[in-house]
Amino acid sequence: MILINKKLFFLGISLIVLAWLSLDDLVDDWGQIEGAPEKLQTFFSESLFPPDWSVLEAEVWADGSLHKPNGDVCNENLELFCSKAWTGMVVTIKMAFVATLIGFFFSIPIASLAANNMAPLPIAMPARVLLAGLRSLPSIIWALLFAIALGFGPLPGILAMTLYTIGYLGKLQYEAMEGVHNAPLESGLAMGLTHSEQLFHVVIPESSNHLLSQLLFMFEYNVRHGAVLGLVGAGGIGMYIDNYINPPFDYNKAFALLIVVFVVVVIIDLISMLIRSFVTEEGDVKRPKWWSVILPPSMAVEMYSKKEEE
């Protein structure tokens, strides 16, 4: 028999029941499910598949010359560099980079005022409300507002991403800051360090791993949202996706572009893992390699112990 905490067990069961009741309350017509897989299959096979990889090629004009999507003549060595996927992705990545960096610089001080181990409640509450306010409008609504004010193009997209980044990243950051050990903060407080000294010499180094991973996650998030922000004319790869999912529909090309976004997100994730390996404590601990799982246990243990001796 599995030994399990009784209270925890009943809590889990009641949560599941509650979730089921809410779902049942929300859904009026369970008949909707009928035929859903078939419909999806039709959509996939007729509209999406196969992805149209012509988005990775430059535009060919009537005279046979290659052109970039904005009309310039393609002078690159590789045709890919003139394609919609490449140019759109580059714009999106640039937008996300600028927005994430500016957002980070503004969110760190606000988050330090919102963390309840660094600031008293009368200061922390307004800071939290400010972050929640910036966060509660999704970046697409911000983009809409800025597109109205500034017109179309990357600038409203960048501003929208920046504001949303401050709200979202700030929330993650003050939670990371609240997770810092109390002892360094206390000795700093007794010593008489100022708020900014506490922030930059104690809290940021202590939570650097979290802050960095959140920063990289926010960059990835902004790249993904670049695909959405295009819908309101904010430039980047999203603009091309938007063109293809509106009439005249060209889902195959939109699908190809989405795959490009997916690949870039995976690459960013790998880079983030690499960068974070410099600040995590994992480097101090020896861990078995991933391929040791396919070896028989005896061999794996032997190899691992041999490595330790080195």
């Binding site: 700093g188 407080l189 007794a190 008489g192 180094p205």
Partner: protein
């Protein structure tokens, strides 16, 4: 209640206990008296301006752990606080450090708010992901005005002091290592070096020597004493080893049943 407490006390302690019970408003229950006691008033007339005065101090979180402390810490004193665990030694020290408010009574000193008090918590309070040097430099930072921007590098004099503190505690060769990879003894040296680089007026050290071995203890004590004498700081320590405390300190405070009793104090 009285008899239950008396079982654990010797004569000397009973005298201290009586003083509280006399002030217990006649209804038999111990109550914190907010007026400063007579003893403290007498002391107040002859305080050294550099000293720390505890007047009618009661410390604790929700309910008091130690009652009615009337003591003066004179500059240059070395005080060891003894007592079994959970009795309020750390709470008393945190109250003196200004981290928690006293439940009643007051602490008065004229030390600067910035850099006047050096506090080494039990868990050392080091920035684990920073190097040894930047941890020690954190102490030296408090010696310049709080209006310096935090990104300004330390000037040469402070940098030399950081190096000297590290040299005295023999951690100069690991100055650029992150603190998290160091051993417990090395981390303790870093914490002490940080406080010494700060040159505070009073050093409050919770479990100053921790569980260090004999050899380490001796070298740390010599190094600390040297700098402490040079800067003329007061040292307040919490110690578990009684013989070590007696060897180190010139005043012993003992917390027994919610009272702070000074050994060899004729006032009590």
């Amino acid at each position: 209640m009285e008899s239950r407490m008396q079982k654990h006390l010797n004569n000397n302690d009973l005298l201290a206990l009586n003083r509280i019970i006399l002030r217990s408003h006649g209804d038999g229950c111990l109550r914190v008296d907010k007026t400063p006691s007579r003893v403290a008033d007498n002391e107040a007339q002859q305080i050294d301006p550099e000293s720390v005065t505890l007047r009618g101090l009661s410390v604790g979180y929700d309910k008091p752990l130690v009652f009615d402390i009337n003591k003066t810490i004179y500059p240059g004193d070395t005080i060891a606080i003894l007592g079994s665990s959970g009795i309020g030694k750390t709470t008393l020290m945190r109250t003196i450090a200004g981290l928690i408010r006293p439940l009643s009574g007051e602490i008065s000193h004229n030390y600067p708010k910035r850099g006047g008090i050096g506090y080494i918590p039990q868990r050392l309070g080091l920035v684990r992901h920073s190097t040894v040097r930047s941890n020690v430099a954190l102490g030296a930072r408090t010696r310049r005005s709080r209006w310096y921007p935090f990104w300004f590098p330390l000037d040469q004099k402070l940098k030399d002091d950081v190096d000297n503190a590290m040299k005295a505690l023999k951690i100069l060769d690991i100055a650029d290592e992150p603190v998290r990879i160091l051993s417990g003894g090395q981390q303790r040296r870093v914490a002490i070096a940080r406080t010494l680089a700060q040159r505070p007026r009073i050093i409050l050290a919770d479990e100053f020597l921790g569980e260090l071995d004999k050899e380490n203890v001796n070298s740390i004590i010599t190094a600390t004493k040297e700098i402490v004498d040079e800067i003329g700081a007061t040292l307040v320590l919490i110690e578990h080893h009684e013989e070590r405390a007696i060897e180190l300190a010139d005043r012993i405070w003992r917390i027994i049943d919610e009272n702070l009793i000074e050994e060899g104090d004729s006032n009590q």
